[in-house]
Symmetry: C2
Subunit: 153 residues, 2 copies
DNA sequence: TATTGTTATACTCTATAACTATA
DNA sequence: TATAGTTATAGAGTATAACAATA
């Protein structure tokens, strides 16, 4: 299905939006493939960058909390944090009162690389977005919170 | 970044839509995670289903053509086709005039499972979409072709 | 020589199960 | 006993490099 949007649009206002679901699934798969390929720098992977971004947003928190925010399992987060620590972009401290927990915090280097990587990493996507018209970018921005709501369903 | 849409909207109509790019990247990563998790049946993976869908859309074609349509490298497509053949959902025939090429075609069983899996696989997403209003689904359907254009950039 | 496709290998991302340490 | 986190292991998905067969 090279262009599933026709089927998507057809069923939009119907009661069971199966066509829209199928088209969205494929569109998201393909764009995520492209985004993985188009990371030119080798510093941070997408998952690491997303976790670092969440860490900046949440403030210092436990690995489990971060796993919940990222909607992955704790063992997966263990590996991501290990990579961020190895790069010096996150630091671990013991929890003041609960010896089982760790507190993960973003480092100044992490905050710096986050800002810089955001610029570099999104360069391809920015280039692609610049080929859309302002009105089309507005349509995309309108749809983004809807996609976020789907992820939280 | 739990809700990047505010930043996204803010920069939408500016010349360099960096905020929109960053938000879209994260939204796509998270929704693709959810979609991977929410495949309850174990019959076909997302990549296999997408390839089978492309095969149905393109008609019989070579592995290289299919790899180009799916925007992955030929060795990756080799594995996907092998899985589809093992399931009996795709069949391989020699090219009539070029001995180097194979012609891959979807089988009746493949077409059947494609239709059935589409229904089952998208059940979660359909459920999520049904919590949007018809107007919001319309907004999403409007944005979908834009996402497709980004993937083809 | 150029093209098609496969095999070999490696890396990322993620999961579940089992374990340790602490509460 | 329950919770936080790690380690061990496995599987999907993808890539590059090297190869074989054919044009």
């Amino acid at each position: 299905m090279t262009s599933p949007s026709a089927a998507a649009r057809k069923t939009t206002s119907q009661e069971a939006p199966v066509g829209l679901a199928a088209a969205l699934r494929i569109a998201v798969l393909r764009l995520s493939r492209r985004l993985r390929v188009e990371r030119s720098d080798e510093a941070l992977t997408m998952s690491q960058l997303s976790a670092l971004s969440s860490l900046a947003h949440e403030g210092p928190c436990s690995p489990t909390t971060l796993a919940e925010v990222e909607r992955i399992q704790p063992p997966s987060m263990t590996r991501i944090i290990a990579a961020l620590e190895a790069h010096g972009y996150a630091a671990r401290a013991p929890h003041p009162s609960d010896g089982r927990q760790s507190v993960i915090a973003i480092t100044p280097a992490g905050a710096e690389v986050l800002e810089e990587t955001r610029r570099l990493r999104t360069a391809w996507l920015v280039g692609a977005l610049e080929e859309l018209s302002p009105a089309e970018r507005e349509q995309l921005a309108t749809a983004l919170p809807l996609i976020e709501r789907l992820s939280n369903h």
